[in-house]
Amino acid sequence: MKCAGNIEVRDVEESSINIDPIQAGGRLTPEAMKAIIAYGDGYSVCDNCRKPFRLDYIRTPPIDVFHRDLARFLNLDVARVVPGARRGFQAVAGTYVGKGDPVLVTALSHYTEILAIEGCGGIPREIPRSRDNLITPDATAEKIEEVIRETGKTPPLLFLDHVDYAYGNLHPVAEITKVAHGYDIPVLLNGAYTVGIMPVDGREIGADFVVGSGHKSMAAPAPSGVLAVRQERAGEVFRTTSARTDVTGRTFGIKEVEMMGCTLMGVTLLGMMASFPAVRERVNHWDRELSNAQRVVDALRRIEGTVIQSQYPRAHTLTRVDTTRSFDLVAEKHKKKGFFFSSSLKAKGIVGIIPGATKVWKFNTYGLTDAQAGYVAEAFLEIARENGLSVS
């Protein structure tokens, strides 16, 4: 079936169980789907925009309230919606990073953090990961000392991923933040994989800034996200324009420079808003999500030669697995080669693993029903048995 022209209907979520590592937390709630039907037109949120003409002041629909709710949700003071987490990184980097500044990231940082630093002329400096793929407070302190020793500068910012994209590992962010603050380095917590799916308390963690992704973890359309900050930082990151043009003498009210004026103005914002009550509630059921992830992981561990490369037991639903000595051995002899694995899963109605991958791959069980998680676990075991692998 086509939506229009040569655009196929996307029915992956209706026809299959999707365990794609990055898509799970962004699946829309029914409320968001309905809001999108009503607010699909371009500037749909602007019907009732009145002075002072800024997104976070609009009362109908209640965008002003949503902004306050977002800040409260993250236990920080001021929040703005942004077109994706990366735009939140850019806004903070644009405020604090100058040309040649060394900026702390980690060996597991998302590439968009590096690009945000590069865009400001900063130099990314990585905190190394431990052998078990964690960022530690000790490694953070050592790196800060090293950077200060080498450059004579204290880094103006630390980008810290709450849960990293590569292993889905949960890092000791509160302890790391404490170390950074010991050197007066503000911390941006990248909660792209946590804000909206598990509880995140920005104040308890000690973060100066928390960034979340709407389309990755808040059941919202792309690109959407949130940037929440402490009150003492709000005037800096959300500074308003002071520009006056030379010929016409125009000024631009209270538009915020880093936000480029208004940010999300249609389905992205309304989808995010419509999902928010469900999102706020669902973070309280994180244990159930972890239980489903653990169920699938434990099934994989029963397949001889399979290694879970992520933290164990699981502290997140995104998991990295090494099947070099199990499914990849099958691939060597199989007529479909590496494609046998994704093909076998697809035959069972499961999608989301990169076609051809049989060595190291990732999956995410977030949002599956208990029955679907059990089905996925059993499917992995069945595929192993069908291909002569030993299952304990």
Binding site: E13, E14, S15, I17, P30, M33, A38
Partner: protein
């Protein structure tokens, strides 16, 4: 804008069901859209279809519904039929 202008505008959109009642003469203060039930029914129907879509997602890949889900589907379909009825009445009568 005159009453005639608005009437013409209503016809120009080409939707048979959209009819305007004009309140006021020299100064047009309010326009009542007679086909509001049709508009509501369109959204109502799409929202019900969305709920059915979500049911398909929850039961993927085999879509075997348990008794509670069947009950939910039945109620949704009945609601959808009602919305279609409203649309028939509003647009085709």
């Amino acid at each position: 804008m005159s009453q005639k202008d608005l009437t013409v505008q209503g016809e120009c959109v080409g939707v048979q069901s959209i009819r305007y009642l004009i309140v006021g003469f020299s100064h047009i203060s309010m326009v009542i859209l007679v086909s509001k039930p049709a508009i509501d029914a369109v959204f109502g129907a799409m929202f019900i279809l969305t709920d059915i879509r979500v049911l398909l997602r929850k039961t993927a890949p085999h879509h075997v519904l348990d008794p509670a889900q069947k009950g939910e589907a039945e109620a949704l379909l009945a609601g959808l039929e009602k919305q279609v009825e409203v649309l028939r009445r509003e647009l085709l009568a």
